[in-house]
């Protein structure tokens, strides 16, 4: 225990002797939380659309205006032919094309129906799907408008059918995030991302740096126990993680007014369990690496897997079964879920206890491994 104190003291001194580290601890969370939440949004709006109106008639103009007035679309151009619109799409100037046939008005009046063509750039699948849904809604609305206006031109029987047409009101209600604010959803994720990067990269460099500098030999010839040595390496990063967390929670409140709907202590507690896991992972990487370059490649490799398969950006439930198995041992996934529940759903500590339990097991395994994989004798 006494030795541990000396070792921790040493680690802290070294950490703060690198002027980049304290700056990093403060600046990095600030930058990330200040800037990036504004960048993340899947909300599909401002879809650029070209309308190719072959008829240029009354109804087709009305439909064009209706599309242009929608909050989802920006009318990019009304080219004369489909080829020009396609060229625009290839250039990236437009995302969608609405093609209205020359006979649009005639069809509506004569045969009471018509068809419009929609082409969507679906390289981004979600955007493609939602875009075509929105267009469909607009066209349906337009249909009922026309129906209302032209109802008198119809024979009485059809009129009666329309009048008696049953209508189901669909009332969507968005719980926990009624404004559908993507920032609120992503900010807890950003906090997990920050912890992962800082508490993963820094410890991963630590022991391998001692290997490169040769200082590890001087340590290995002393009677220090492995567990003390590894603990002394980890504890400063736990502290770093906690500080980062406190800064982040404060910033989220100050900048975005976002405060956990559940218990803030539960947020910090679950963060600590997570920090134990990633810093343990960092030390393992450091133990197995020969050079700092190797360690940095490896730590980036694992961070990318943790993050991209961890449900922050894309839902875990949409992944194939094997990837969901990976997610089941991914601490990032558990903390992201926990944070979102605590922040947005107002869940209690009891509600997230399963996640915390899983995180706890991961932390124990990784840290046990970290101690085990540190070899004092080659």
């Amino acid at each position: 225990m006494k030795t541990l104190k000396f070792l921790i003291e040493k680690e802290f001194k070294q950490m703060f002797r690198n002027p980049l580290i304290p700056r990093l601890i403060v600046m990095f969370p600030t930058m990330v939380l200040l800037v990036f939440p504004w960048a993340v949004s899947f909300e599909v709006k401002n879809i650029k659309i070209d309308v190719v109106d072959h008829g240029k008639s009354i109804y087709s103009k009305r439909l064009t205006d209706k599309v242009a007035a929608s909050k989802y679309f920006i009318l990019n151009d009304t080219p004369l032919d489909y080829q020009t619109a396609m060229l625009n799409m290839e250039n990236g100037k437009t995302d969608m094309i609405l093609e209205i046939p020359a006979s649009f008005d005639k069809d509506i009046v004569k045969s009471q129906t018509s068809t419009v063509g929609v082409a969507v750039n679906s390289v981004n699948g979600t955007q493609g799907l939602l875009g075509s849904n929105y267009i469909m809604q607009i066209v349906n609305d337009f249909s009922s408008e026309i129906r209302g206006e032209l109802i008198n031109t119809l024979p009485p029987q059809s009129r009666a059918t329309i009048m008696n047409m049953p209508r189901v009101d669909i009332v969507p209600q968005y719980k926990y995030n009624p404004e559908l604010d993507y920032k609120n959803f992503m900010i807890p994720g950003f906090m997990v991302l920050l912890l992962t990067i800082l508490c993963g990269i820094l410890p991963a460099q630590n022991i391998v740096m001692e290997k490169e500098n040769g200082t590890i030999q001087q340590i290995n010839v002393t009677p220090i126990s492995k567990i003390n040595f590894i603990l002394a390496k980890l504890i400063p990063y736990w502290a770093v993680g906690l500080v980062v967390m406190i800064i982040s929670v404060t910033l989220a409140y100050v900048i975005y007014g976002l405060w956990p709907a559940g218990n803030v202590i539960a947020v910090l507690f679950s963060a600590i369990v997570f920090i134990l896991s990633v810093s343990g992972l960092g030390i393992i990487i450091s133990n197995y690496s020969e050079t700092m370059q190797q360690a940095s490649f490896l730590v980036m490799f694992f961070i990318l897997i943790l993050v991209l398969l961890g449900g922050m950006f894309t839902p875990v439930s949409g992944m194939p079964a094997w990837a969901q198995t990976i997610a089941a041992v991914n601490p990032f996934n558990y903390l992201t879920k926990t944070f979102r529940m605590l922040y947005l759903n107002g869940s209690t500590l009891a509600d997230v206890s399963n996640n915390l339990f899983a995180l706890g097991i991961i932390a124990v395994v990784l840290n046990g491994w970290a101690v085990f994989s540190y070899k004092k004798r080659g």
């Binding site: 990036f36 049953p166 050079t291």
Partner: protein, 383 residues
């Protein structure tokens, strides 16, 4: 006159020889470090496979439950429709809305479908009946898409009923999905993953190894050699360029043969784009190496600046067009944005150089700029 010409040629020859010898040495240096080489080659393979298959924007497996106080033909019809849909994972009927909200709070339920009392009766008598969709929107994307899907199903059901009744004035839409008709997420993500992985590898590779030489003092020895420093740094980056290009080819092969992402445009053009991007990212690594003098800091700097902006601002995941104008401007200085754009255009949309000249020029411009900064910084250090 002739003699000095000759001498000039000779010296040039010697320089070339020195240069080749130096490149050779750097190559051997890298090849001998088996473990690092394994990581540099293995990392992109594992990641393109993992992410290519697993990352998926599609909202699936939506857990749905129903509250239906007075079941009738229509509510049962709608319920069946939703249950049958492959996007939904049915949790059955629940005895109360409160129970549903409880499940939602625990994260066990995404969507609650709540029918009003006497649904069919009201619909027939008053022509109106309401169904409420409670969507768990802590994930707004998931929330709104769940609600959109359910709405579409219910509306579709209604539409069918209307068609049975021959309601006039219905305008149909004919949809075509262009470039990605099956709407595979991999089409969208593969170029992004390429940009991300190459950026990380190239940046860390150059910055860390050069700063390591600075740390050890071996850089000074090299700088004292007869080779010009520009030549020397160029020679150092050649092996990295070759390795990165091998990485790119491996990623490309895997995306084509394993992930099934098409290469609709010119392969040669794709190589050109990759070569420019690799030069750009290697140069960025060089720039970092002139700015820091500890390996630790080179790692932190490279890791953070190579990863976060690519994830957030390059359009890899979040469309640039959705961002506020200020961030769109920010994203313009993220190299990966232009690479990803160009690769999507060439690979998936099958476009030619004429359509990507802007991206190509911007990347070349960035490379020249960073090279200038690097040379200026190095000169200053040596003086």
């Amino acid at each position: 006159m002739r003699y000095s010409d000759n001498l000039h040629v000779k010296q040039k020859g010697i320089k070339m020889k020195q240069f080749i010898a130096f490149v050779n040495k750097e190559f051997r240096h890298i090849i001998r470090d088996n473990r690092t080489l394994l990581i540099i080659i293995g990392m992109p393979i594992v990641e393109i496979l993992l992410f290519g298959f697993a990352i998926n924007m599609e909202v699936q497996n939506i857990t749905v439950a129903f509250y239906d106080p007075s079941p009738d033909a229509i509510t049962t019809g709608i319920t069946e429709r939703i249950k049958e849909n492959s996007y939904f994972n049915n949790q059955g009927n629940m005895p109360s809305v409160a129970k549903m909200e409880e499940a939602m709070q625990k994260g066990d339920l995404d969507l609650a479908v709540v029918f009003q009392q006497n649904f069919q009766e009201d619909l027939v008598q008053t022509g109106n009946a309401a169904v409420q969709l409670l969507a768990n929107s802590s994930d707004p994307n998931r929330g709104s898409i769940s609600a959109t899907y359910a709405t579409a199903i219910i509306a579709g059901y209604q539409q069918e009923q209307m068609e049975l009744m021959h309601i006039p004035f219905q305008i149909q839409t004919e949809n075509r999905m262009i470039y990605n008709p099956q709407m595979k997420s991999s089409y969208m993500f593969v170029p992004g993953i390429m940009g991300l992985v190459l950026m990380i590898i190239c940046t860390i590779m150059t910055s860390v190894s050069i700063v390591r030489e600075k740390e050890r003092g071996t850089m000074e020895v090299l700088l004292a050699s007869p080779l010009k420093q520009g030549t020397m740094i160029f020679a150092k980056t050649i092996p990295y360029m070759v390795i990165s290009f091998i990485d790119f080819i491996i990623i490309l092969l895997l995306s084509y043969f394993v992930l099934g992402v098409p290469i609709n445009g010119s392969l040669l053009l794709l190589f050109l784009v990759a070569l420019i991007y690799i030069s750009l990212t290697l140069t960025y690594g060089l720039t970092i190496s002139t700015l820091v003098d500890k390996q630790m800091n080179a790692v932190i700097f490279s890791a953070i600046t190579a990863m976060i902006p690519v994830l957030m601002l390059s359009g890899m995941i979040f469309p640039v067009g959705n961002m506020p104008v200020v961030l769109q401007a920010f994203s313009a200085i993220v190299p990966a944005r232009w690479f990803i754009d160009a690769v999507r255009k060439v690979m998936i949309q099958g476009q030619g150089l004429f359509m990507i000249w802007k991206e190509v020029l911007i990347m070349i411009g960035m490379t020249i700029f960073l090279l200038g900064v690097t040379i200026a910084k190095t000169k200053k250090r040596l003086e």
